[in-house]
């Protein structure tokens, strides 16, 4: 500690201060669980996340690829669960708290950044797991999502009531993931927030489109109720459009308005026969099935599309009585848009796949569907709004017999009335133009988030978009430019912290229990037992830890008070330290 000076210049929110400091913090890497709390709270950004190098010299000590020493070092700071989550969650923190059997602390850590942990514990597409170094370099990824679910299944939710500290009002239109996330962050900052939901229930596409066998809607309901009990004001059946309009909201002294209405309009392709009976779009079909409203379906269904919604629809149809369900997509078999694990699950349940095929017409007898005609796709082009334009090959036509057809070819937001009520025009794609950095539309104070933007459409991405919108709204209202502290870069740890696979405790991956009977709508995954969860959590390699840059630390000690494992110490700065 010979580089510690008493005097220090530091910057907070673009202002420079000078101060005499009494102490400097340090973190014990052997205790630190890399939850990221100190890094996020540090006022001078003095804390960085370091990632340990994993030795992959030999072909046999792990299943992952061999690497030269230099490659390993580079890999260390380019890949980590902690930079994969769009929401900024650092899984290592709660995974290691689970390993230490501190389940309540794990819940607190998860719910600090995520208002819907039980939902994400079930349906998140877990980008963190794709980056898990245990998975890419050693054997099999840690089941992070399963561990998150375990915590939310076993700890009673606890959220401190939101306290209003500021008199500014913010309106959020839409109680889907983006809207709820933005409301959560803005409420925590102390704003008065009102969420306007057009329907009788909240959750947006999570409620409408995600089937019950993946997410029991009771879980969604109870998570939202917890938020409402803590003070989140959600007004139901309150459609904002022409009356009241966005203009009315601004007139009503809302300082900012966020449009987070999602893309809830299912699209059908303009092909012959699309008006026949038993031809549906996925959103309307799924929302009816999810609401337990009877729908007429036949014995042989073709689902057009290869995304997550298409696969969920096909699996739902099989449960609802269809004998055969085929997903047909324009992409080739190596680039089906759904996640690999979704495709695997769907195949396991009997969903058939036909790839590189574009529907040209629905064959009907009067209004009864008889089949769908397809042509093989030669190549796929993309227009300026990201819409796909497949080019088909002549003479490659073929027919798939079917009596039910579902279009799962994407969803669109319906913004006509909203835009009109805000004196804005929609662009050629029917969307609102906006600044990609600030998420603000051309109208001052009007922001958009979630599927209304051109961002990726998964739940976690929508949540992240809501978080960004909240930050941007706060920055605008406060007249400052705070950075998103959940985004960060990694540094490579010192050689002495290197992880050798040969040293690891021998632990096999825990197998997630699943239900056997897949004919009903019960959730497929049952969830880990406590014993399983602890064993699975112990598989975490603990690649990351936080480290204090002593040249930036002002010795305020805030990090000490929030560390869940007491890994941080304050070291006194000696008088006249060199």
């Amino acid at each position: 500690m010979d580089d510690l000076h008493k005097g220090i210049d530091f910057r907070i929110a673009d202002k420079t201060f000078s101060q005499e400091r009494q102490a400097v913090a340090s973190i014990d890497p052997s205790i630190c669980i890399n939850c990221g709390k100190c890094r996020r709270i540090c006022p001078t950004e003095a804390i960085d996340e370091f990632q340990r190098v994993i030795c992959r010299l030999c072909p046999d000590c792990a299943e992952g690829p061999e690497m030269f020493p230099v490659q390993s070092e580079q890999y260390a700071h380019e890949h980590a669960c902690s930079i994969a989550c769009p929401l900024g969650t650092v899984p290592e923190g709660y995974v290691n708290l689970i390993a230490q059997e501190k389940f309540i602390e794990a819940y607190e850590l998860i719910s600090e950044l995520n208002p819907l942990p039980a939902v994400c514990g079930r349906i998140c597409h877990h980008p963190c797991e794709d980056e898990c170094k245990r998975g890419t370099l050693i054997d099999k990824t840690v089941n992070i999502r399963g561990l998150k679910r375990f915590v939310t299944d076993n700890v009673k939710p606890i959220i401190a009531p939101f306290k209003q500290k500021l008199d500014k009002k913010i309106a959020i239109i839409g109680a889907g993931p983006a809207g709820i996330m933005a409301a959560f962050d803005l409420l925590k900052k102390g704003y008065k927030v009102t969420v306007f939901e057009a329907g009788p229930k909240s959750g947006g596409m999570m409620r409408l489109c995600i089937p019950d066998f993946r997410l029991d809607k009771e879980i969604l309901q109870s998570e939202i109720k917890t938020l409402e009990d803590a003070g989140m004001d959600i007004r139901y059946n309150a459609k904002i459009g022409s009356k009241p309009s966005i203009n009315d909201l601004f007139k009503d002294k809302y300082s900012a308005v966020l449009i987070a209405v999602g893309a809830s309009k299912g699209m059908a392709l303009p092909i012959e026969g699309a008006e026949a009976e038993k031809v549906y779009n996925a959103v309307s079909l799924m929302s009816r099935i999810n609401a337990k409203i009877p729908v007429e379906i036949g014995r042989k269904a073709v689902v057009i599309g290869g995304g997550s919604v298409a696969l969920d629809t096909a699996r739902t149809l099989l449960r609802a009585g269809t004998e055969e369900a085929t997903c047909v997509c324009i992409e080739d078999s190596n680039s089906i848009p759904a996640w690999d694990w979704e495709i695997e699950e769907a195949k396991k349940e009997g969903v058939e796949f036909v790839t590189s095929s574009c529907p040209t017409s629905i064959l009907t007898e009067w209004v009864t569907v008889k089949g769908v005609e397809f042509k093989k796709v030669k190549e796929i082009n993309c227009d300026e709004y990201g819409r796909l334009k497949p080019i088909v090959e002549d003479g490659t036509g073929f027919t798939i017999k079917a009596d039910t057809v579902v279009f799962a070819t994407g969803q669109k937001p319906d913004l006509t009335l909203l835009a009109k009520g805000a004196d804005l025009n929609l662009n050629a794609a029917g969307m609102l133009d906006y600044d990609k950095e600030t998420l603000m539309t051309e109208r001052e104070g009007l922001f958009i988030a979630g599927d209304v933007t051109t961002a990726k459409g998964s739940v976690i991405d929508s949540l992240a978009s809501g978080r960004k919108a909240a930050l941007m709204i706060d920055n605008m209202l406060m007249g400052r430019e705070l950075k998103d502290r959940t985004e960060h870069t990694l540094k490579t740890a010192d050689a002495k912290e290197k992880i050798f696979p040969a040293r690891l405790e021998k632990l096999s991956p825990q197998i997630m229990p699943e239900i056997k009977d897949r004919n009903g709508f019960d959730e497929i995954e049952i969830g880990f037992s406590e014993k399983q969860a602890v064993l699975e959590a112990k598989r975490c390699l603990k690649c990351g830890y936080e480290n204090v840059d002593s040249s930036k630390c002002i010795g305020c000690g805030v990090c000490l008070t929030i560390c869940p494992v007491d890994a941080i110490m304050l070291n006194k700065v000696q008088e006249g330290g060199c």
């Binding site: 030795c55 010299l57 072909p59 061999e66 020493p69 050689a495 002495k496 290197k498 405790e505 021998k506």
Partner: protein, 388 residues
């Protein structure tokens, strides 16, 4: 009863039952010390290695009464056969009796020797930390039979190999790329060989080298491997080097007609010059755990058994004096420095020389022409390893 209240107490705990750990435990047990030898694997088990038991190793093997077993299981070799980048040969006839025994068999013999000498042995016991109280190591923390248990002792000997947990736990784990190598090895059968341990300084493999050692009691079984320093390991993989050797070298070609009988396995090879002080209060590191591999030749079993004996002697003195302080255990480090420091110095000079193909060509040429030079080289290579 072995386990009481999840705490086990012994005079000395030896972590790791490789040649170093077993030798150390055997010497201690023979003197009546209450010693517990533990290993994370179940024996017999393989270890990536050249399998060579040099003269120094054989001295301990004999002393501990394992000679007949090793003689039966091993291959008695005459010394080294070096080949230069221009494919010339030099035969280095070694004094004394030297064997090559597959580690799967040799380590099991040594483990059983330790047990025969009176050491208690537990397998499948994974050590993950040391118990440290007031700066003094007082045992180890381990997972045994699915339980997390504390094993307490007056002295801990870290013999847990190149990824040593004990070394890491006490903060003496050097990982300097210049002094650390990567090795890869497999077994072939039906390989025509002379009775020498072949070391090929192949032009396509330098600064690494390839070894072909006759190993075990079946004629024609070769232990084939490659070692390279990490500071120059950045373009071809070890396996790629081997493939090139088999394709291009006159000494590699015979492997095409031979049959590969095991998987390629790798290992980390920490060499001596980077070793720090391999001891602390209540703990000593031996063998690979203490980075004791000889540079250049890559010999690890010899230094492991030698440091095992040194550590055992120091431990016996410490038990007699009932003093387990770092000051007392420094005697171990002193013995080690006396034996090895000069050796490292001369080997490191050679190591530099051997990174240049012309030098090796020249040395091999002169070795074959100049009898005085030949004698000097042999002295350096072998007599330096034996006791002074």
């Amino acid at each position: 009863m072995l386990i009481m209240n999840k705490i086990i107490e012994r005079d000395v705990i030896v972590v790791g039952a490789g040649p170093g750990g077993s030798t150390c435990a055997a010497y201690l047990a023979r003197e009546g010390v209450d010693v517990l030898l533990m290993d994370k694997e179940t024996f017999p088990r393989d270890k990536t290695c050249g399998d060579s038991q040099a003269e120094v190793t054989m001295e301990h093997v004999k002393e501990l009464g394992a000679y007949e077993e090793v003689k039966k299981a091993g291959y008695c070799n005459k010394g080294f056969l070096l080949t230069s980048p221009d494919y010339s040969k030099a035969y280095l006839d070694a004094p004394g009796e030297r064997y090559t025994t597959p580690r799967r068999i040799f380590d099991n013999i040594m483990k059983n020797t330790a047990i025969r000498c009176g050491a208690e042995m537990i397998e499948d016991c994974w050590v993950y930390d040391v118990i440290k109280e007031d700066g003094q190591v007082k045992g180890v923390k381990a997972k045994y039979q699915g339980e997390y248990i504390e094993f307490r002792s007056k002295i801990v000997i870290g013999a847990d190999g190149s990824h040593s947990m004990v070394a890491k736990a006490i903060g003496i784990f050097p990982d300097n790329p210049v002094c650390t190598g990567a090795g890869l090895r497999c077994y072939y059968e039906n390989v025509p060989m002379e009775k020498y341990l072949e070391i090929h300084f192949d032009q396509n493999v330098l600064p690494g080298y390839i070894w072909v050692f006759p190993s075990g009691n079946r004629e024609g079984v070769a232990n084939v491997g490659i070692g390279i320093n990490l500071d120059v390991y950045d373009s071809k993989t070890l396996k790629e080097y081997i493939d090139i050797f088999i394709e291009t070298s006159p000494y590699g070609k015979r492997l095409k007609d031979a049959r590969q009988i095991s998987e390629w396995k790798g290992w980390r090879l920490p060499t001596g010059p980077q070793a720090g002080e391999n001891y602390d209060a209540g703990v000593m590191l031996i063998g690979d755990a203490g980075s004791m591999i000889l540079p250049l030749t890559g010999e690890g079993i010899g230094p492991a058994t030698e440091t095992a004996k040194m550590a055992a002697d120091t431990a016996l003195d410490a038990l007699k004096a009932n003093d387990f302080s770092a000051e007392f255990l420094k005697a171990y480090a002193d013995k080690r420095h006396d034996t090895y420091d000069i050796k490292y110095k001369s080997i490191m000079t050679l190591d530099d020389v051997f990174r240049n193909p012309q030098n090796i060509n020249g040395i091999v040429k002169r070795y074959n022409l100049d009898p005085i030079f030949k004698e000097e080289v042999l002295k350096q290579m072998f007599f330096a390893h034996s006791k002074k």
